[in-house]
Symmetry: C2
DNA sequence: CGGATCGATGAAAAGGCTTGCAGAATGAAC
DNA sequence: GTTCATTCTGCAAGCCTTTTCATCGATCCG
């Protein structure tokens, strides 16, 4: 049988309230008593019963984290960030994997949110309405998805797209395909919209929208042939996994990257440096995103003033590697006469 | 404020015990009352308070999963298996990441094991003694590590090594290096020992032990140069990540795989098919391993007869891909006169 | 028709902990 | 020596649920 607070109290010769206080609010108890109690507790191997505490305080000391796919290193890293910060704050974290299924997502969050202090919902796949319903049930923060009135940690998708596009345009690319990710993905919708608006704004740029594809290697394989058929010189893939699948298929068909076609991804997952050529991609500091989400959640839980929205968006960085090069057929002159609207100033 | 069992009781005009029974043991309550209560409960949005239930039953309805690195897809997939089975059984799962640190591991398991019904400890990095101490504190099952007296789910490392070795020998390789993983890793020790015993048993085989290296891409990069210098024709890497790092470094040095050197991994993680050449590796059904671990844990928790040990070891499969080929310098004759002890019978 | 049997229900205790409130003890001030 | 302020400690209520035990009514049988 586990040792309880009253065992410690008996052993130390004090009341259970004193034990409770000595452990939880040490400053409320006299020095001598405090050390006696703490000593006894440790010696007896006392560990507070979280359930009992939770029953009274209404807090569980744990948070939930819901992700679409634990095996995807994108989420693995975010989870690590959440983990780390939660542990620092004395919180344990439930993790649930929804297998990219919006209905599982709703069910899981629903089942979790009442038995934890709050939930971090990562790359939510559900509709805005579903997510609002969920948020009404308890403290919820969104990662990689933005919804007014709900605390959201996002990264700068528009900036990321702009960086990629400038890079490609500078290399002489004018016909660019987007290998789209799942329609349920908010970041896919953001990127697609940003691409469209940029390309619409510059007359000499044509955007070919392909997809949607599943956000995996297989999606990229599928996209590759369509991209080739469309005649573009560069493909922006929804994420690194799709980009890698794309490059694999291109290589198997004897199409060279970047000589024949340039390819870019998003996320900077480990796989982006495993492949050859290494992938040009956009880095998102996922670890710090995970940490921030816990901070935001705890702000709600403890009713603290939340972070200003500006600091909620984590910065991005374009990582130029070997998968992008000068556009096929583009003379060097192209590089010297970039599209005024999108070329880097230097 | 949350709706409690007594709210439901008042609303339905019955006692709280009846509500409790109608929900938890429906057969103990009259048909009419049961449906009334269930209806009222649903209508009011009642959700039982797990903490209160746990206080009385002594069960939390949750289990813990502790892994060295969540970002590693090897563990990601195991986690998915654990996840899935736990959810089936109505359990939620705490996941903790130890960052490959044995002391964090001990601390985390220690902190977790009293507040869950049991813990699945994956690829434990601690010493045998540490793990035994942990197991004494509560229900614990080991995954990818074997310890007498503690329920363990493992895969057949010896069989895996044998399969790899037979494959390499059949291709004419006689000088083989092992790029070892962390000393804290049980499977690394198993594989190293199995390799040694096989090579010792066949006089014409020489084994070069390299390492130890961290179980990541970077470890493989490091190992590559040592492997080349050692003059071997094949390298068995501790896992796929190391193998991929190895191949990357070889490619950068202009050494061809498999023409100059053959490379194999273990685990069959997604990265093994992202690289070119695709990696020859050994597949472990990690998902089913995760599921089995939950079954084993629940067997302990519910005091059921545990699975027989034989079914605790999950089968393996050698996946031959393009990273292994005929040994450099070996004539075709070698393939026709394989070492009797290790060549496949066909 | 009385007693036994059975099913359905309710009352109440228990589980470990926190916390408001009150009491005891100590010390200081007069 | 008395009074008051100030700590420190203990009592007891309460958090929400499960579960034992008792009660009640009804059914059944002799």
């Amino acid at each position: 049988m586990a040792v309880t607070i009253r065992d410690v109290a008996r052993e130390a010769g004090v009341s259970i309230s004193t034990v409770s206080r000595a452990l939880a609010n040490p400053e409320q108890v006299a020095e001598a008593t405090r050390t006696l109690v703490q000593h006894t507790a440790r010696a007896m191997g006392y560990r507070p019963n979280r359930a009992a505490r939770g029953l009274i305080t209404g807090k569980t000391g744990s948070i939930g984290l819901v992700v679409p796919d634990l095996e995807n290193p994108f989420f693995g890293r975010i989870s690590k960030g959440v983990q780390a910060r939660a542990r620092q704050a004395g919180y344990a974290v439930f993790i649930a994997d929804t297998d990219e299924d919006p209905s599982v997502e709703a069910e899981v969050v629903h089942g979790l949110i009442k038995q934890v202090d709050g939930v971090v919902l990562c790359s939510a796949r559900g509709t805005d309405a579903e997510i609002r319903d969920l948020a009404a049930e308890g403290p919820l923060v969104l990662v990689n998805r933005n919804l007014p009135d709900i605390p959201s940690i996002t990264f700068d998708n528009v900036g990321a797209v702009e960086a990629v596009l400038r890079h490609l345009v500078a290399l002489g690319h004018r016909e660019i395909a987007y290998a789209a990710g799942p329609l349920t993905s908010w970041s896919n919708r953001e990127r697609a919209a940003a691409l469209k608006s940029f390309c619409d704004a510059s007359p000499d740029l044509t955007l070919v929208e392909l997809g949607n594809f599943p956000p995996y290697f297989s999606g990229g394989v599928h996209a590759a042939d369509l991209a080739v058929a469309s005649g573009v010189t560069a493909v922006v893939a929804f994420n690194d996994l799709v980009a890698v699948g794309l490059m694999d298929r291109l290589r198997r068909r004897g199409i060279r990257v970047p000589d024949d076609i340039s390819v870019t991804g998003f996320d900077n997952v480990p796989a982006s440096t495993l492949v050859w050529p290494n992938l040009t991609t956009v880095d998102f500091p996922r670890m710090s995103m995970g940490r921030k989400s816990v901070d935001a959640l705890l702000d709600i839980v403890f009713d603290r003033a939340p972070l200003p929205d500006a600091t909620r968006q984590v910065p991005i960085e374009l990582i130029v590697r070997e998968s992008t090069g000068v556009a096929r057929g583009a003379g060097a002159s192209v590089v010297r006469e970039p599209d005024a609207a999108h070329a880097p100033s230097a």
